[in-house]
Assembly symmetry: C2
Homo-oligomer: 140 residues x 2
């Protein structure tokens, strides 16, 4: 399933004039198989574990390329290296548990709408936004 998704993306990349190298194909699969939010070093480790040699420099370059192609999204949580996630899901924001480091996803249509309204009122269009809730489990 994530395997076919990866293959599907390869077509799109080639169509966009981006060469599908051994390294890129591997990273595409590693990302498609990840349901968490790995950083560059972690993706590098997973590719190696999958038996594909890739340099860390190439991992960074590939991430930038895939982001430009709209295949992945970059997440920058407070004070940690950037993390990445597949961009095929529907839009969502993140909630980070400060105690466990766990990252959860959520969506709220009303917030999205309000944001657009605020920008519009001030004469702007939103290109993208970032909403992160840093939380702690409620203890009662």
């Amino acid at each position: 399933m994530s395997e076919e998704r990866a293959t599907q993306l390869e077509q799109a990349l080639r169509a966009a004039g981006v060469r599908v190298t051994r390294q890129r194909a591997a990273l595409l699969r590693v990302i498609a198989a990840s349901d968490d939010h790995p950083d560059a070093a972690e993706l590098h480790a997973r590719a190696e574990k999958a038996g594909v040699g890739v340099s860390l420099a190439t991992v960074y370059r590939t991430l930038t390329t895939l982001q430009a192609q709209g295949v992945i999204e970059k997440l920058e949580f407070q004070g940690e290296p950037a993390r990445w996630e597949a961009a095929d899901q529907t839009h969502h924001d993140h909630m980070i548990d400060l105690d466990t480091g766990e990252v959860m996803e959520f969506t709220n249509e009303r917030i999205e709408r309000l944001q657009a309204e605020i920008a519009a009122e001030m004469g702007y269009d939103i290109v993208h936004h970032r909403l992160e809730l840093y939380v702690r489990r409620r203890r009662d």
Copy 2:
């Protein structure tokens, strides 16, 4: 006005057991006098321009200290060095013009409430959050 604010903060710092050195007093004034969102290098430059010698290392250390005291807040916009702002204003979020780099502030009570509701529904309390709108001026 920002001058008295700075003096006022010095009292609070001393009361909290934080020594008010020449460097800290200067940075306090530079920050109180800034209505934009300067980064460490910029604050360093402004302090120097004000005639107070401070090392960049001390600027960083001081910013961390002032943040811990709740005097300033750290802003981390996409891919730029961290910026800082005085924490005396009421809470607000930021809107960044991608073309000009201009940073604007806004507040929306409804969004704040919705965020709290979302966290509560999932069993969490919000410690702090980050909402940034990356925008482009609407052209019609």
